[in-house]
Symmetry: D2
Subunit: 341 residues, 4 copies
């Protein structure tokens, strides 16, 4: 049996650990051969492949990124995309495909499975927003990096009596903001799922200054203020009339500074959240996902995705992932209100 | 309502995070007062208390250890232990007790609950061997530290073509060994739940050398060889005739060196696994446990323990913890056989 | 003898280690008493003081920031500044002052010493741009943080075949950029001391892509392109006609993307470079500086500054610091040209 | 010109960074070719070589260990050693040799240089005990690892009111113990250069307990008590009558526990101090050493060694290294007495 493997979407710590587990178990226990598809679905569309055997996966467990490359290419966006994927599979005699990715990559996998292609999915995303699994790998690493950054920022905030706004990843889901904010002892945490009230944020900031500590505000990049609170000034428009703001963090710091009269600064963590060596948990989870994906292929249980439930790895239909992003439940968010201010 | 809080057993990263969450929510949302019991059950026995209010818990979230101190004192071991605990509670007008600890501490809590004392338990242990909860806090930090150490040892093993044996914590359960061994890319992992075959270990070591890589062997401190394999030489007995071995790691390294004829060294990670700042996951879990323990006290749902199930915090009877240690399932261990050798 | 201590300018890992060493040695060996001046020269101007004794410095060695607070207040900017500093010293019966800071803080100290005030200086700055000393504390920590970030960015750059521009601190001196860029294996390093040629930068970027690796460009915040290369578009002006650019990193990434036609992203490390626990070297250096500053006070050798020369701590005139910023020598920078592209 | 490169002695973070710099500059700027000698002087003796070109050094900068392998083989110990080294050089047409190592490796290099072989030395050792250079690479990483471990041990020591003895590397020189002990806030630091008084150690331990903090004792593996203080009990002898002690740390912890009546534990850091990714400083220093070693080869300035003086890299005669180990000066050690107890 020949199995193709691809990694799609944003890169994420743990991808290499998953690839290694897939190849080690597939070759050693099942006698499979593997084909690496280059740059996610692009490789499947264009027939761009790389060799993938045991020597190729030696030493990659602790390395971030993906040896297969990644892209956001979506084969469903071109009319003959599915046909071209089929051609690539035929050309390289692949009997099955393991697709490692987030909502988009797995959504494509679900469609292909519906078309009769033998696909097994492995969920990954630093944002932790894939439905059907308790956690995805990459998330724990991102949260650890953001928490360590917040730890560092506390000392500089205290030393200068200033508000520090930390913008973390999370366009649609606030998981990184919530976990790192709680772990880092933030005084305000703002997530995309709940439009925030700038007045309330400033009140919390003032509360913090009153007890002579400096506030840390953690904001997910996708968080937005309540309707009407973000006034766009003329000067914030670019040559096409689009709003030009570096991001919500910078906007918020300016508002806080204007309203409280005290200095406020922004730090945008950016890509360091998704790079570098994976945490132990992410290596463990990615390895277990990889091993179990091979079980699914071996049993030809296609159209499924491996998932974490408690301490167990289970299999769920790939279609589960397509119901939409898994966001932070308002009830969960509300539990932490005691730490705000 | 006045609530006593104690931390028992070995110290563990996340204890302070739990204490902070308990006090923050208890004071701010429920109007509780708190009494800190010094050094676990010793404080309850001897009436040793410390003030515990919001200023006392400021800044402790990222700190390892416990501001309340800890000990292995067991009040059930003295005849009047339960009565003395009752006296302390009465003397300081405590209406309830939150006991944070592992199997021993929580076992005592279960007995006291049976005697009508209002106790709520919070599980912690770096060993992850408490039944009734998917994970305990402290474990993730320990695994990260061990994994980072294994990462470091790989390079020195390779450079000198030697076997490195890493002894990690885990007297009764192999969770730290298994997780850090898998995350660290160990070539052999030995756990207390499965007596190991020294011949097999040496065969794996030889396999590794054959492909010109240096083997890393991760061994839990409580792991033992199969019956008859550990020959005790006269010189290994101390003045009382007891076996004197620094530990299983050292013994195993000597056996491997003797049998394979190649250099082998041991590193015993020891107490660095339980100290220092908690990982983001442990801060998150400890905080959530603390918040939910307050809910249980508020609802006077005594005799219960908070526990993790998937991504949720639930409440289980304290008696669950007394069924014994949660070990590594042989089936789970077997999944990773593909990485051995 | 009563000695005032202040920390001025941007906060910096190691300040607390220096304060601790000063107080420990001053009290234990010399019988000094200490007064903490709040927020740098502001405390000296306004008579804002805090107690500073051995209990106050317990546990602060590993903590970033400064327990004394900091500010950029300059007493020389108000006409009666020197007189007011004198008044504060008299009011609290301080016989001497230890000023810990960078070029600005030490410049003030040099002037005050000229006015007969008993001042000893301790150099600190993450930028490493103080003349008269081989290194300042804070720098090594900042370089380690930046290097770790660059390590992380390599993996995400590779996975997506994109250029990553990392903007690090350094308005006037390129030390952080040079050290972290070399340690992190950057492909281009740009420093304030040498205006860069955007065409050359793009050529190096292209060279890197040719061998199928993704380029990392490290740029100091104060680096600038050669005259004429930074064209400011109308839309980059704010309502007052000032150039509005988030920073050189963002500008450069846009230029690289425009000119090479390949994706380029920016990460601005910002304040995480100056926060958090100091590296071992910075704790060592700050401790030694603190101990030797006490020697200078004890010997009433005022108007001096402690400094690192090789592995030794020496004393130099405070006036040395006023000759200007210590920048990266072009010859040193040129040594690393072999790694560019 | 063809140049051989070898790494001898214990492995050390930064070796790969030095190798990379040598090859990059040698090939790109001087047109040199390189031959890698396998496992230090063993490769030179036995003609064991590996290819060494630019692709071979890609990506190795952040990796610990050495891609060339290492050993403690000493060609001067076999009668025809020098002749065999000459033969290997001739067989592979090497015009010069760059030897990277500590006192032993460089001592051999000095002898070979005396025999007319074109050798340039690069000093490395985690122990920092090479004469002629302010610092060697590897040392800073080891100190950072030990300091981080001490930071972790503080919390577990406090939580249980116990003494923790940390044994760090350093058979002949106490640099790692002194730097990590000072950086980690140890209460006692013991180094090989100064036999210690167990009574004094116990007095310091008691002092620490009096103020209700738990003592941390850092001891170099080569430290010894004053004459007569180490009583060897019968039971500590092995079958050959040799003293059987795991190490000085374990012995000392037992003595402290016996004499103070309070619990004491040992942690032996061992090989994790020399493995893993190098610190930023070590990557910088190793890179600079590598670049300058090429200059020396290019200028045919053989019999020399590169060395750090302040912030500069200089060249010194290889013979300097043979005057013996660079230990901690008693005056320097005495400076830190204020922190003991």
């Amino acid at each position: 049996m020949r199995v193709g493997v691809l990694t799609g979407g944003g890169d994420c710590p743990g991808l290499n650990a998953a690839i290694r587990a897939i190849v080690r178990k597939g070759v050693q226990e099942c006698g499979f051969e593997f084909v690496g598809l280059r740059d996610g679905w692009r490789g499947a569309l264009e027939g761009a492949v790389v060799p993938l055997d045991i020597p190729a996966v030696r030493g990659i467990l602790p390395r971030g990124g993906t040896i297969l490359g990644s892209s956001r290419t979506n084969p469903l966006k071109s009319e003959d995309g599915v046909a071209r994927v089929r051609e690539t599979l035929a050309a390289y005699e692949m009997d099955a495909l393991i697709a490692i990715g987030g909502e988009d990559t797995l959504g494509v996998a679900a469609v292909l499975a519906g078309e009769g292609i033998g696909v097994v999915g492995v969920p990954k995303t630093i944002d932790n927003d894939v439905t059907g699994t308790d956690y995805t790998f990459g998330f724990d690493t991102a949260v650890n990096i953001a928490t360590e950054a917040i730890d560092r920022l506390h000392t500089t905030a205290e030393s200068h009596s200033r508000t520090l706004v930390v913008e973390v990843m999370g366009r649609h889901a606030g998981w990184i903001a919530l976990h790192s904010g709680i772990a880092g002892g933030a005084n305000v945490i703002l997530i995309p799922e709940q439009p925030f009230d700038v007045d309330q944020v400033c009140a919390w900031v003032e509360d913090r200054f009153k007890i002579r500590y400096a506030p840390i505000v953690v904001v997910a990049e996708g968080a937005v203020p309540k309707a009407g609170q973000m006034v766009v000034k003329d000067s914030s428009l670019d040559e096409f009339g689009h709003v030009r703001l570096s991001g919500i963090g910078e906007w918020l710091a300016r508002e806080i500074a204007d309203r409280t009269g005290k200095e406020a600064r922004t730090t945008v963590l950016g890509h360091i959240q998704r790079g570098g060596t994976p945490s132990a948990f992410d290596r463990w989870l990615a390895t277990r996902f990889g091993l179990r994906a091979i079980d699914a292929v071996y049993e030809r249980d296609f159209g499924t995705m491996v998932a974490l439930r408690g301490a167990d790895i289970v299999r769920v239909p790939l279609s589960e992932v397509t119901v939409g992003t898994k966001g932070v439940d308002p009830a969960l968010y509300a539990e932490f209100g005691v730490f705000f201010g």
